[in-house]
């Protein structure tokens, strides 16, 4: 009898793998192993609708519990995989259970990078990735007045927007000279800085956080400049570390720009032909960027899961999806497609002043990425162009009389 597929990781990628395997007609056993106590749920609303009290936990579930029974997927929650026996072809769990596999999918996700400055362990220092962390953060927010967010990336800025919407005094401390510096163009960074400031968020750039002070609970955040920012709570959003240990301890290759991801080929297969890695923990050659990347996004998780499911179901095709991302902050929707690596020219379409614009990144003549602010039609057109390898000229990109859909 077939051992079937074991999927380790109960996040978006793990869920989608199990779901897509059935949709692709795979009829062997499927086991989905997740560390968290809940069935797989959506993480994106945690920083937004959930902390604002607009979406309760039952509505976060990707599917109801009955879905797993109905599709003959064995869902194991609250279980952690601790070892892989590659020659024997089985996975060992912390609880002592062992599951044999024909194919193993590692959708291990990532964990938050933690602060290592004095005071980082004080009560009131919060992180956000899991529902449990989101619930703790939401509870804290109810009684907090002064909220300090360390990190001006997507998570930090989304939390800042939510906290400000709840009427809190909010300060964002960003170490780089601009917001979301890793992922958007300078004009977009500046637009968001001004937009947050206009809505009452204090944004401090080039802020080096030296210490968090308090007795048991946080009281203030001290910067290298010497200034002190009052804080009833501190939210830390300074990036993630991919969970690769289960793979590396089993001798699977990990590589890439540090922090390393689990290395996979175009079929998302590791150096063991029966083991795949997908989502936040995997690094692969991205054809759009022309380099190896590790991406943290819903799109990457879903599309890689779908790709792996097809391969396991006997319909292999290389992974070839254009990366896209989004972030909602206040009433502003930021959408990105492609990867800006290697760009040498930026072109703006639309009006930055009116808060409706897109930034087109060109690498020579080739369109490699587009950031859109409240311009969903540009984003969708760009998704299609980048996926199809079509590039407008920079002049066409800037000219609003030209309909991008017709290119």
């Amino acid at each position: 009898m077939a051992a079937g597929v074991v999927v380790v990781g109960g996040g978006q990628a793990g869920f989608q793998t199990a779901s897509s395997l059935r949709a692709e007609g795979y009829d062997g056993p499927i086991r989905l192993i997740g560390e968290e106590p809940q069935a797989p749920y959506q993480r994106p609303p945690l920083s937004k609708a959930f902390v604002l009290g607009k979406q309760d936990p039952s509505r976060l579930l990707l599917r109801p519990e009955s879905f797993y029974k109905d599709h003959d997927i064995q869902l194991l929650t609250g279980e952690r995989a601790i070892s892989i026996d590659r020659s024997g072809g089985w996975v060992g769990l912390a609880s002592g259970q062992q599951f044999a596999y024909d194919a193993l999918v590692l959708a291990l996700g990532a964990r938050n990078r933690t602060l290592s400055i004095p005071g980082a362990g004080l009560d009131g220092v919060c992180y956000l990735r899991t529902l449990a962390e989101a619930a703790a953060l939401k509870g804290r927010l109810e009684s907090a007045r002064d909220v300090v967010v360390i990190g001006g990336g997507f998570i930090g800025l989304e939390i800042a927007a939510s906290a400000r919407t709840l009427g809190k005094t909010v300060t964002v401390l960003e170490a780089f000279p601009r917001l979301m510096a890793r992922v958007v163009a300078p004009v977009v960074s500046e637009y968001f800085r001004a937009a947050h400031a206009a809505r009452g968020v204090e944004v401090t750039l080039s802020a080096l956080v030296q210490e968090i002070r308090g007795t048991d609970t946080v009281k203030e955040v001290i910067l290298a400049s010497g200034s002190a920012v009052p804080a009833d709570m501190v939210v830390v959003g300074i990036g993630v570390l991919p969970n690769v240990e289960l793979a590396s301890e089993a001798g699977l290759a990990v590589a890439g720009v540090p922090p390393h991801g689990i290395s996979v080929d175009e079929f998302l297969r590791t150096n063991d032909e029966r083991i795949f890695a997908i989502g936040d923990c995997a690094e692969y050659h991205n054809v759009f960027a022309g380099q190896r990347v590790r991406l943290e996004s819903v799109q990457n998780a879903v599309d890689q899961a779908t790709c792996v499911a097809r391969t396991i179901a006997g319909k292999p095709a290389p992974y070839h999806s254009a990366p896209w991302f989004w972030s909602d902050q206040f009433d502003i929707r930021l959408q990105m497609v492609g990867l800006p690596a290697g760009h040498d020219r930026l072109v703006v379409r639309g009006s930055v002043e009116d808060g409706k614009f897109s930034v087109f990144y060109f690498n020579g003549d080739r369109l490699c990425a587009v950031d859109s602010v409240n311009r969903p039609a540009d984003h969708l057109a760009a998704r299609k162009m980048i996926a199809a390898g079509i590039s407008p000229t920079p002049d066409q990109a800037a000219d609003e009389s030209i309909n991008l859909k017709t290119l």
């Binding site: 879905f67 819903v298 779908t306």
Partner: protein
């Protein structure tokens, strides 16, 4: 609770009581209707919860926003005048009996 009637591309009809305030997408996903995928979880970002709304209910729906309009241009199945993203239809008492038909494919 308002009843929403989901008709699969193959013609199978399922009637579901959906709480007021939930979306038509959520009503499907939380009740195991497979023809609606909803990859992005209802953020109007992926166009995999596309439905064809029964004509007589169209006047009761809110106008199509810019986001939805852009997404509807990239549905996997053809966009028709009664195409909507089901994540953008919030269930209200007036929508009791709403009929939505699912397209052949969402991806």
């Amino acid at each position: 609770m308002p009843k929403i009637i989901y008709i699969s591309h193959q013609g199978q009809t399922t009637q579901i009581d959906v709480p007021v305030g939930d979306s038509v997408m959520e009503g499907a996903v939380q009740n195991g209707i497979d023809g609606i995928v909803a990859e992005c979880g209802g953020s109007c970002l992926c166009a995999t919860c596309h439905v064809y709304v029964d004509e007589k209910f169209l006047p009761l729906l809110p106008p199509i926003g810019d986001d939805q309009d852009a997404m509807l241009d990239s549905t996997a199945a053809d966009r028709l005048p009664n195409s909507r993203l089901s994540c953008q239809i919030s269930v209200r008492p007036e929508l009791d009996g709403l009929i939505v038909r699912m397209p052949e494919t969402q991806k």
